[in-house]
C-alpha cells in the first residue's frame, strides 16, 4: 500500500502526462504481480464493491476524532469529499502498515459478510495502521469513490512501455469484463490466448471540429453521416451469443432485449459499432426517452412498448472472426452495407450525400428536423483507431439552443471546486415570477467562478444547508442541446446538456427570457 500511496501522490502532484506515465512505469517496476494487476484494474474503474455504508463510516470517524455529528457535517461541506474529511478528522495512527494493495482490497471485500459491530472493529483496526495518503486511498476505496487523474489512454501507454506490448493491443486486452481475481498480470496482458468471446474493441472517438470545415480539403475524400443522440454501443456476435457494450464499458445486453434477434441474421464473428437509439414509427425519439430506460433494473412491457430501441450501425470492426480495424473506412462501409440487411432493429446509418462543403453545411442545418445532433465526418481512407484522436474523424455539431436566465440558487461544488459556489440553479420569468428550470455547473472560467463565488457570499438571502438563495440579479446565457416536456420538473420542461454559455453582464434580470419563450422551442 505504501508503494501505491506513493504512486497516488506522484500522480496527484503533476498535471504533465509525461510525468504521470513515468510514475506509473516506476510503480509497475517496483511492485509485485498481484498489486500491479490490481492497480490496472483500479485505474480502469474496476473498483471493489462497497461493503460498508458511508454514513456509518462518517459516524465512526467522528466518534474516534471526538467531533460531534454537526461539526463532522460542517467539515464535510468545506472539504467536499467524504474520504478526505474522514482522513483529516481521525487521530494519527498508533501502528504502521506494511501490507500490500491486494491485502487491503481483500480486506475491504471480506467485510461484506460481517455484522455491523464486526465491521466497525475491522475498520478501526485499519484506520489505526494507515497514515496520510495511505489512509486517504483506503477511504477512497472503501467509499467506492476511487479515481485517479489518469486517462485510459495514459494508463495503456504506461503498461505498453513497461511490457513492450503494443499500445493498441494493450487497450484491447484491457477492455470488457476481467478482474484481478481471475487474472494474473501474465494471463491478462502477456498471453496470446483469447478466450473471452465478449471482449469489445476500444471505441474510436472523434473530437469536435475546430476549424472551418473547408480546411478538411477535398470533400470527396470524406463520408458524412448524421450524428445520432443516443448511447454509443458495440454489438458482438461470437460463438452463437450476442453481447452489447456501451461506451462506458458496461455490458448492457440485458437492458436492450430488442437486440436478441440480431444474432439470427449476423454471422458468428461479427462486431458492429453504432448507436443505441430510441426509435419508433421509423423515427428516432429524443434522448430524454432513452433516459427513462437507463438505470432501470427491470423493464416492463409498457416501457418496451413506449420506448423501443434500434441499433443504428455505422461501422464494422470484426468480420468472420478477424479484426478488420486496419481496413480503410470505405471498405469497412462497403462490407457493412452488405452485412446489414433491412430490419427494424438493426439499421444502417445512412450516408449524407454532398459534393461541396456548402452542400454539407446546408444538410447540417437540417440536423434538428432529422432528430440528430449534427454531422459526423470520417475520412474514407481512415482506419479504426482507439480512443479520442484528431485528424480522420470529426464531429460537426449544430449550434446549441440558448436562453437568458437568472441565477437564483447557488451551491458548493465538489472535489476541485469544493468550498466554492459553482453549482447554480437558473430561472426564467413566468408572470412576474421566476421559475427554476435548470441547473448548470460548467462554462465559466476560473476567474469568473471566483467572481460569482464572491458575489454569492455577499448577496445571499437565505441558507438551506449547503444551498443559498441569492438576489435575482445575475443573468447568464444558458446553452443546451435539446428540450423536452417533463412532468418531473416544476417548470414542465427538461433540458439536455445545459451549460453556461456566457455571463450576460449587460442584461438586467428583468430582460431574461420567459417560460413561454422556452416552451416555444418545444415545438421547434
Amino acid at each position: 500500500m505504501k508503494n501505491f500511496a506513493r504512486l497516488f501522490t506522484a500522480l496527484d502532484q503533476t498535471t504533465k502526462t509525461n510525468d504521470k506515465v513515468l510514475a506509473l512505469e516506476e510503480y509497475f517496476k517496483t511492485t509485485n504481480d498481484a498489486d500491479r494487476t490490481w492497480a490496472i484494474a483500479l485505474l480502469s474503474h474496476r473498483r471493489p464493491k462497497r461493503t460498508v455504508n458511508t454514513t456509518l463510516l462518517g459516524l465512526w470517524a467522528s466518534e474516534l476524532g471526538g467531533v460531534p455529528q454537526w461539526l463532522f457535517d460542517e467539515s464535510y461541506h468545506v472539504v467536499g469529499d467524504l474520504a478526505e474529511t474522514i482522513t483529516l478528522l481521525l487521530p494519527p495512527p498508533e501502528e504502521g502498515s506494511g501490507e500490500s494493495l491486494k491485502f487491503w482490497i481483500n480486506f475491504i471485500q471480506s467485510l461484506e459478510s460481517l455484522t455491523i459491530p464486526q465491521k466497525k472493529q475491522q475498520i478501526r483496526w485499519a484506520w489505526n495502521r494507515l497514515d496520510g495518503t495511505e489512509r486517504f486511498v483506503f477511504n477512497k476505496l472503501i467509499t467506492g469513490g476511487f479515481r485517479m487523474g489518469v486517462s485510459q489512454q495514459l494508463m495503456v501507454k504506461a503498461v505498453s512501455h513497461y511490457t513492450g506490448v503494443a499500445a493498441s493491443k494493450v487497450a484491447h486486452k484491457l477492455m470488457g469484463q476481467w478482474s484481478p481475481e481471475q487474472h494474473t498480470f501474465e494471463t491478462l496482458l502477456l498471453s496470446d490466448e483469447e478466450r473471452d468471446y465478449s471482449k469489445p474493441y476500444p471505441f474510436y472517438l472523434a473530437y469536435a471540429l475546430e476549424n472551418d470545415v473547408s480546411e478538411l480539403g477535398n470533400p470527396l475524400e470524406w463520408f458524412a453521416e448524421r450524428k445520432w443522440d443516443g448511447i454509443r454501443g458495440q454489438i458482438i456476435v461470437r460463438n452463437g451469443a450476442l453481447f452489447v457494450w456501451s461506451r462506458g464499458e458496461e455490458l448492457v445486453t440485458d437492458k436492450y432485449p430488442e437486440y436478441v434477434v440480431v444474432k439470427d441474421f449476423l454471422p458468428d464473428g461479427t462486431v458492429l459499432d453504432g448507436e443505441i437509439l430510441p426509435f419508433k414509427n421509423n423515427q428516432p425519439l429524443s434522448f430524454n426517452h432513452l433516459q427513462t430506460r437507463i438505470g432501470r433494473k427491470t423493464l416492463n412491457s409498457k416501457l418496451l412498448k413506449d420506448v423501443p430501441v434500434a441499433f443504428i450501425t455505422y461501422d464494422i470492426i470484426e468480420w468472420q472472426g478477424t479484426d478488420i480495424r486496419e481496413w480503410p473506412m470505405a471498405e469497412r462501409r462497403k462490407k457493412l452495407e452488405e452485412v446489414v440487411g433491412s430490419s427494424s432493429v438493426l439499421r444502417l446509418s445512412p450516408l449524407v450525400h454532398f459534393e461541396t462543403w456548402e452542400e454539407l453545411a446546408a444538410e447540417r442545418l437540417k440536423s434538428r428536423e432529422m432528430s440528430s445532433e449534427g454531422i459526423m465526418l470520417k475520412r474514407k481512407s481512415s482506419v479504426y483507431r482507439d480512443g479520442r484522436r484528431r485528424g480522420d474523424w470529426w464531429k460537426w455539431k449544430i449550434d446549441p439552443l440558448t436562453v437568458d436566465a437568472v441565477m437564483i440558487y447557488a451551491m458548493n461544488g465538489h472535489g476541485r471546486r469544493a468550498n466554492l459556489f459553482t453549482d447554480y440553479t437558473f430561472a426564467v420569468w413566468d408572470n412576474n415570477q421566476l421559475v427554476p428550470f435548470t441547473k448548470a455547473y460548467s462554462g465559466l472560467t476560473d476567474e469568473e467562478i471566483r467572481e460569482v463565488d464572491r458575489w454569492v457570499k455577499q448577496n445571499t438571502i437565505e441558507r438551506f444547508g449547503p444551498v443559498r438563495s441569492v438576489k435575482p440579479e445575475l443573468v447568464f446565457e444558458i446553452a443546451f442541446e435539446g428540450i423536452a416536456e417533463s412532468s418531473r420538473h416544476k417548470s414542465g420542461i427538461a433540458l439536455r446538456f445545459p451549460r453556461i454559455y456566457r455571463w450576460r453582464r449587460d442584461k438586467p434580470a428583468s430582460e431574461a427570457n420567459t417560460l413561454a419563450d422556452l416552451k416555444m422551442l418545444l415545438n421547434g
Partner: protein, 345 residues
Amino acid sequence: MKLLEFTDSGIYCPRAAVYLDPWKPVQKALITHGHSDHAYFGHDQYLCTHQTQSIITHRLKLENNVQSVGYGETIHINGVQFSFHPAGHIPGSAQIRIEHRDEVWVFSGDYKLQPDGISEPFEPVRCHVFITESTFGLPIYRWKQQQKNFDDINLWWRKNQQEEKVSVIAGYALGKAQRLLKNVDASIGKIFVHGAIDVMNEVVRTHVPGLPLTYRVLPEMKKQEFIGGLVVCPPSAIGSPWMRRFLPYSLGIASGWMNLRGARRRRGADRGFALSDHADWNELNQAVRETGAEKIYVTHGYSDVFSRWLKENGLESEIIKTHYEGELAEVAEGNVTGETSNSPE
C-alpha cells in the same frame, strides 16, 4: 458601559475613545499588526509595537503620526490600561490587552501558537473576555510541525534541482516570505526573491535576524541563472507574465488552505504546503483555554462553527462581524493582489 464595543468602524473602547484595528478612518487607532486588513490608511494617530511601526510607516507611507511601544509596556488612556503582547502571527504582531478596574479583555488580532523562527512567540494572556480570530476554525485544519513542512519543501527543491527546474514558491510578502527564507535549507542553492518581497525584507530585517542571502529578480537576469534555484514570490505573481522567465519550473504554494486537496488542485500548483501563520483547530482551542476567559467573541473565519463549538463546551460565546472577515477562504483564494493585498493567509 462595556469596556469594548463592536461598531461600524471597528472595535471601540468608549472609555478611552480609541479603536482597535479600525477599517474606517478614526482619530486614534491601536494596530495589532501590519497586514492591510488590520492596518488601514487614513487614521489620525496610530499606536502599535516598534516592529509594526516600521512596517506600517512603509506600507501606508505614514510620517509623524505613529507612536510605538515595546511588548508588555503599559499605556494609560483616560484611566484605561493598554498593553501589547506577542501574537506569533508575523514579526511585530500583537494581541492587545485592555484593563479597567479589574476587568481584562484581550483582542487577539491574528495569531498562531507554533513558533515560526521569525515572529516573537505567542504569549497566553489571562483575561475575562477574549476576542479571537477563527480563520481555520474547523477540525480539518491541524498543522504538521513546522520542521516537517520544511523537510518537504527542501526535498521538493532538491528534486527540482536534479531535474534542472526552477522551484517557485508563493507566500505573501509580509511574514510568510520571511518565514520561508529563514527556515528553508539555504545551502541547497541560490535564492531569488520578487521585488515586493525584497522591499519587505529590508523593512523587517532589523527585527528578523539571520535571513539568508537573496537576489532580487531583475529584468536583465539570464534564464540560466535561475536553474536549480528557489524563487520566492507573492501569490499575485502566479500566472503573470513575470513567471515565464523561470520556465521550466515547479510551482509550490505555502498556505494553510493547502491542507485540502481540492484547494491544492484548484490553484493549479504542483505542490501545496500547508504552512500557515494562523492558529489551527487545536491551537485555537488551546489559546481559548489558556486565557481562562469565560466569554469569547469570535471574529473572522469559521466563526459560526467555532462559536457553536465553544458554547457546547460550556463557554459563553458570540460571533462578531468585522471587516477582517469576508469569509477569508475566498479572500485568500480569490483576491491575490499581492503586496498591498488584504489577504493575510
